[in-house]
Amino acid sequence: MVPLSWYLIVAAALFCIGLYGILARRNAIGILMAVELMLNAVNINLLAFWRYLTPAHMSGQVFALVVLAVAAAEAAVGLALIVAIYRTRDTVNVEEVDLMKL
């Protein structure tokens, strides 16, 4: 049987890779992909804790489902925003989208 800490460390690595992508990418779509990586890491954690600590309760599963739905909503709205920004400003580079900067 695989120890619980292995799952948690893999999820932590996936989360940190996503963090690097968010901080280092200049492209808004690349940043969204990194956010999806981080949400996946969260779901691995939720399901690992469910399986190892509370397999009789449904809370881990329910909240994994909630995270999944939020990820889908986030992707839809985020990509719609990116398409709208691309239409008006002709770029998806987050460093050039600085309309609200003083």
């Binding site: 800490s5 940190c16 990586l37 397999p55 994994a64 925003l81 990116i82």
Partner: protein
């Protein structure tokens, strides 16, 4: 045996995730993202959450990845490898992410977790999950998520609409 499968699966997943965040060609990144999602679905299988493995492939690979590839194709210049893909602080980002991973790994490694699962999930946990979603305990998050999905649906149509 299970440990060997776990190690291979996580190495593939993490390697593809690294390619996703470091590749200069966003289209290739999106394709590697599909491998990451399938690898995570494999991890769900190993956790005996088969329902979530199916959902993962259906929603992430089927819906979210399709959306991402659509957005990539709708915006020009993304596939141009001459455009710089990373900002000036990418090395600082790498240091921060690496440090966070080291801290998390040390903490997780030293924490006293139970060596084996404390029980088995019941055989028909999908039916139990369905009942739990409409039980008084979880009906509020369930309804909030449905409203969020509706708002996201309307909002994304409104934002992306051609004026």
């Amino acid at each position: 045996m299970a440990q060997a499968i776990f190690i291979i699966l996580s190495l593939i997943t993490l390697g593809c995730a690294l390619v996703v965040v470091t590749n200069r060609n966003l289209f290739h990144s999106a394709l590697y993202l599909a491998f990451v999602f399938v690898g995570v679905a494999g991890l769900y299988f190993m956790l005996q959450a088969e329902f979530f493995a199916g959902i993962q492939v259906l929603i992430y690979v089927g819906a979210i990845l399709t959306l991402i590839i659509f957005a990539i194709m709708l915006s020009r210049d993304l596939m141009n490898p001459n455009v710089r893909g990373f900002n000036r602080q990418w090395w600082a980002a790498a240091i921060v992410a690496g440090l966070l991973f080291v801290v998390l790994a040390v903490v997780l490694w030293r924490a006293p977790w139970p060596a084996a699962p404390v029980g088995e999930p019941s055989a028909d946990f999908i039916a139990e999950l369905g009942q739990a979603l409409v039980s008084p305990a979880y009906v509020l998050p369930f309804e909030v998520v449905s409203i969020l999905l509706l708002a996201a649906l309307v909002g994304s149509i409104l934002i992306a609409r051609e004026r």
